[in-house]
Symmetry: C2
Subunit: 372 residues, 2 copies
Amino acid sequence: MPKIKVDLGKNSYDINIGVDTLRNIGEVYDPKVFTEQVAIVTDPLVEELYGSRVRASLREAGCQVHTIEVPRGEKYKSLKMAAAIYDQLVALGFHRDSTIITLGGGVIGDLAGFVAATYMRGINLIQVPTTLLAQVDSSVGGKTAVNHPRGKNLIGVFYQPDLVYIDVKTLTTLPARELCTGLSEVIKYGMIKDKTFFEFIENNAHHLNTKAFEEEDLMRAALKVWTTIVAESCKIKTAVVEKDETEQGLRAILNFGHTAGHALEVLSKYQKYEHGEAIAIGMLVACRIANRLKTFDEGKTARLEKLLTKLKLPTRIDNLSAERISKAFWVDKKVKGGKIRLVLPKRIGEVEVVDDVPFAVIKKALKDTGAR
Amino acid sequence: MPKIKVDLGKNSYDINIGVDTLRNIGEVYDPKVFTEQVAIVTDPLVEELYGSRVRASLREAGCQVHTIEVPRGEKYKSLKMAAAIYDQLVALGFHRDSTIITLGGGVIGDLAGFVAATYMRGINLIQVPTTLLAQVDSSVGGKTAVNHPRGKNLIGVFYQPDLVYIDVKTLTTLPARELCTGLSEVIKYGMIKDKTFFEFIENNAHHLNTKAFEEEDLMRAALKVWTTIVAESCKIKTAVVEKDETEQGLRAILNFGHTAGHALEVLSKYQKYEHGEAIAIGMLVACRIANRLKTFDEGKTARLEKLLTKLKLPTRIDNLSAERISKAFWVDKKVKGGKIRLVLPKRIGEVEVVDDVPFAVIKKALKDTGAR
């Protein structure tokens, strides 16, 4: 089973990737590293699916396990909910050497990661992502955050976990839409860093849907593909993060598709698009900006669009004006000195950071993608 | 004028110490390092005294300066107030390369430092401490935090500033009590690390009061002593922080006097004692625990008590039971695996971390110091 080392000096940690490994999670407990006090932060649905097996394994290993439930939904990734978790940790008598285990998707990981980072200036953190998006993106790299009404992830810190523990089999319980949306970030890794990986996704696209989980043999084959997908994605993200832990430069390339994507999420008040869906459209917008700047081949944009469509990801903006979307670029964090800093493709497997894209070009690319 | 380099790798920064330097603060503005967008976070009293000269100097240097006022008082060092500042930063359109300047005491520095650390996962931060306590302690070392109703500084992160800019002349506008209370941490540095510095304080105690600021010549002499006091304190703290940026081990010695001190603050709901006053008493409690353990000479405790008294710091607990205070030790962060970890003196200039002090000894030491 793949094990990836993330080398960040004293902030280094491992990513363990396996199939059906949640029932053995207690193996990670090492009394030399953390005390037996553990709080699992999760949501009601994930709790229902996996809570009891995770608790059983940790208890068998000697942990004292508490469970903190957070309602499902992006709107609970808030400072208010963080405050509610602090209250519970205080009530439980949690100290600096206690541990938070996040069990769930990106909302849980970001929120409980932020709490772990800020409670007593940082306690132990084990990320156990159960969605594809969390496995390939949010659990790796140390970004934690809560949302502000005026912007996603506006309040947060960089805080590296002590371990990321991924059970790929949790993907089999995801709804079809959630599985699709996570693929958006996977495709992004191919686009920014690895053409071979992009082609692996193209060639294995038929495995990448919930139908493949309905029959035993198909599932076995699919989980093999998924393990590769998750491991390669984590490797690419890790390589970028290692070179730029706190997003000073290189790490910006991970934001490919995210400036337009975030603008869509903000303008639709996080109601219309899942994160990955907004990013799928955002990547196409970035491609079309590069097409218009003549730095990226239009045929490659079509190839990306074809793959997104095959994987049931959206490719068109509807019912929003290019003017409004492009203005919303400025509220995003990826703005340098009042200038928009965009990540644009050069070819499949390589992107570049471009600072001074004319407003008019951005608007045209948005219109090319369906905006009014 | 002393300039101290704090060497923390990529988190390194300088501490500039001068007399009457606030009016030249604009000199720190370097457009290569941060954008012209600057928010001064301050309180109404400090704003009244120093706001206009700081703004004038920064504006002259080309900064766009905004001012965010926070009401005075420890109770505003809250998550709620942090949220209110986030809102203002969003409204001002602050980005990752904008800058927060904290102008004020420890409450302002800790609160606005926490906001700078967590807004967009960290923006530029310049600490301009105007109280003695903030100059010698809270502005150096990267601790930021807000309080939780159940514990001081329970929510926070380590975040190093880009610069600490100290104008020692601001000490001349402090009320007598505030000047005294800051001396408590100064004496602490002597106790934990530097007997010579302890003796310097003993020998110059007559300069260390507000009376010395009432006449020009006396003031000049006093400010010279204060400059040494602030610089030596920063040096000692810096040396400790450099070896242990995130309080894994050595840095714990800075908590000398703080476990009992925090318990007193919590039990009196932060109403009765200024922080330094609680620490003064806390140091005596730590000394008396060591006296009872026979690891520290009683005569030295008397010598510390004499210096504290000379500097008008309190030395007695009144109207609280030893039982309650010692129980409150456990809510403090300085607890390791459920055990109390205390910093106890060995001699003047050296302390040690002791893990298993019997509850009964703690109670006796508290009673020796006036507790019921």
